[in-house]
Subunit: 220 residues, 2 copies
DNA sequence: ATTTATTTTTCGATTAGGCTAAAAAAGTTA
DNA sequence: TAACTTTTTTAGCCTAATCGAAAAATAAAT
């Protein structure tokens, strides 16, 4: 079994995400931006990840994640999201507080710990942001999702995820009264600026700009 | 505020324990044994911990932990023991399985996490081995404790901790039917080998050698 | 098709943590 | 006190992860 260091796990996870699950190849600069490290550091890390054969690395041409790499990335993502569920559901963290802590917790190496945590949380299938939690074997149960912008007037749905899960964006959503799990209905769409008016939980009406609505994912 | 690396935290915790809470000074070899690292590595670490002024380090003469060092060590111990409670009470770990995992978890750096965990666990005062959990400020509520060997015949008490919390020893105790929290009564003490016969929870009679009984702590 | 700009890599350093082998200090014994 | 033993430290080297500066490769623009 390939053993990765915590830093290697983090980089691999980032590559998995940026490549959209391995669909696209990823550049050094993109990784550098995501990881908040310098390109020089990324190059070095890519060499190491290439040697461990979790990515395919052609100098100057970006990287592609291998099948083995995907499996390992999904295991890290699984751990990350299970811890997020724990933090939100058991320790009353809000969804914009969980990221950093989960980034540390995801590197704890006990297999038993994750099994028991999963069980303790009732085998959740989605994390607090609505993203699916891979199972032990890396399989994900994904839900068909649309952005709020794509919904027609009078369409209803449930807010299940956000594309941009930055703390700032999450706080903003909370502030306007939206949250993962909220039942929503599209009341109106403004043509000229792409903004939408939605009803949250049949009681509160809020407005969202085109940019915000395009980042909110809804299950119909 | 002094920031310690995970390795520094571990060494400092070891020094705190070996010195019995700062009462004795500690030798390089003792630390080396406890940490399973070479004496050369310990010397190096002591230099660093000395520079950060969490220990007082006089070359060739062992180290003493400073007041600042005690505070930091107690914070790590607090985190370690809270995680142990979590693992045992919530995730159904047995007491001999918690050590390694808690050794990793204790280095997670979120203050909010520990506050919430403490609250979630109901502000426990003792860990699964019966050792006291320091509060946020490093204060410990210790219980008067005796070793099982020190009890007289017919004395009763509650098994509250073990001196040697190695996995082997904990497994052995489990096997013979003893556990933290058990009500015990001394039925007999054998003079010539120092062994004792005890009744556990008013139903099971077990024998313990002098060595074992000397490692079991009882609250009378 | 050159030149210019951008991206990526390499090189040399640094810090943290570990190791081995050798030197030095302290402790013990004759 | 001298010699030997044990403990501790130093010195030099290793890996992981980072950085800045410089070089190299690719991409874009004239």
């Amino acid at each position: 079994m390939i053993q990765l260091t915590p830093a290697e796990e983090s980089y691999l996870k980032a590559i998995y995400h940026i490549s959209d699950g391995g669909k696209r190849s990823v550049s050094t600069n993109d990784i550098s931006f995501q990881m908040k490290t310098k390109p020089a550091s990324v190059s070095d890390m890519l060499r190491r990840l290439g040697e461990k054969e979790v990515i395919e690395y052609r100098k100057y041409y970006g990287v592609n994640i291998t099948e083995e790499g995907k499996k390992l990335a999904l295991q890290t993502i699984r751990k990350h999201r299970l811890w997020e569920v724990f933090l939100v559901e058991k320790l009353r963290f809000s969804w914009d507080e969980v990221h950093e802590v989960a980034d540390e917790l995801e590197h704890i190496k006990s297999k038993l710990l994750i099994q028991r945590l999963d069980e303790y949380l009732g085998f959740p299938k989605f994390d607090p942001h609505g993203d699916p939690i891979p199972d032990e074997y890396g399989d994900v149960r994904s839900r068909p999702r649309l952005t709020l912008s794509e919904l027609d007037i009078n369409a209803t749905g449930q807010l299940v995820a956000v594309k941009d899960s930055s703390a700032a964006f999450l706080r903003y959503l909370d502030k306007v009264g939206a949250y993962i799990g909220a039942r929503i209905k599209v009341l109106d769409k403004v043509e000229f600026d792409g903004s939408v008016e939605i009803l949250v939980d049949n009681k509160k009406t809020i407005f969202m700009s085109k940019d915000v609505a395009g980042n909110v994912l809804v299950m119909v």
